[in-house]
Symmetry: C2
Subunit: 234 residues, 2 copies
Amino acid sequence: MASLDRSLISGLSVFDGIALADLDRIISQARSIRIPRDQPVFEQEQEAHSFFLLLDGHVRVVKSTPDGHEVTVRYISPGELMGIASALGRTTYPANAVAAADCVVLAWPSQLWPTFAASFPSFSANTYKVVGSRLQDAHARVIEMSTEQVEQRVAHALLKLVKQSGKKTEEGILIDFPISRQDIAEMTGTTLHTVSRLLSAWEDQGLVKSGRQRVVVVEPHRLVVVAEERGSKS
Amino acid sequence: MASLDRSLISGLSVFDGIALADLDRIISQARSIRIPRDQPVFEQEQEAHSFFLLLDGHVRVVKSTPDGHEVTVRYISPGELMGIASALGRTTYPANAVAAADCVVLAWPSQLWPTFAASFPSFSANTYKVVGSRLQDAHARVIEMSTEQVEQRVAHALLKLVKQSGKKTEEGILIDFPISRQDIAEMTGTTLHTVSRLLSAWEDQGLVKSGRQRVVVVEPHRLVVVAEERGSKS
DNA sequence: CCGGCGATTTGCGCTGGCGCAAATTGCAAG
DNA sequence: CTTGCAATTTGCGCCAGCGCAAATCGCCGG
């Protein structure tokens, strides 16, 4: 792990409050790995030998059910941890992680975690903060699935992606990695058909522009309106 | 916290691997609180002043959405931790917790957490294991909501409750606290009407017996079949 | 023993969104 | 440029499950 631009890394929120010397010691024990698009980073049920920090690219975390369904748990953006099973006392990964685009990751052997946690309390605290927010996300997701219609869920999903990985272009905000209707369907618990219909409708209204594995949100504001529509029941 | 039967407490999985002396030090810093049925243990958005261990009773953890929906996140059984926001770096509780039956809880001030974590590594590890399994649960829940029909979700919910809080009776296995159709609906993302219809149907088939705020699972095996039915798609 | 109220049941009609299937399109390799 | 394949679009029919509403039922306080 010699030649990594440390200035890039030290700004990450995972390393908040960590002395530079400590940061060096942490980073020096990581391996840097390139993972080409569509290759796995780690796999469900596999022994959790490492935990990771995504430096570049995007990773899709997916759970497969025994009966063949796939549910996308989340997308990981640069700067985020993943595969931190070891911090939660698990010995296997709970999901599949595949590169949604070419990626660069740092990988630490899992057995380093206890040492890290003891030696670098801030690192541990930051990690658990991440866990906490993922738990929040998961619950938020359950709530969405329980209370919202498909249209709103898809709108929310797009907005989330935009926030996470949006890149300004002249057309609007582009989701910065290849994403198919099927992928969006797996995020929102619907079918690619329904997603396609929604995107077509939104495209007609000028809310988005989309093509093969590509979505540009033209009018985030109006999409927010769609996402919040149909409050009812109050 | 003088007079608590420590033998009861020391067996809890949260305290696995903790020396008795340490256990004493931990417990001696807790307050024991009685909470009557339907009273809150802690509330969403409120400052997370304490974290808790449920000793007796049952607690329902519920999230309220701004638009008035309520989604039940989980039920807590005796021996489980709750309100551990502080371990995840949160300063407020993420949900409401209300006593589903009269309860006894131990409460520790949140500011004790960092000390505990540092002084009793096993306690910390056990806690994070709990967090890990809750994250699992939440994801499992998302997957259920994405891939299963209402009937299967309700069946799963009942089985979960049975596993958590089932009590053998001559009729079958009773869910050991008052639970309404509405409550089950909030656990499964459906309406009390649909839950009522399902329970009625199952009652006709002899799978369950149910009454006002009361459910007895007569034939868990056959309920499991219902829960797994309709695999399809493979 | 008698209201009164919250919980539950049940009927009925409607519809969001899925399943199926066929047509079309855009990308990429040769 | 051509061919092949994967991604996408779109039409059509159907049904699980919700919304609404009315009727019952069972428990608790007085």
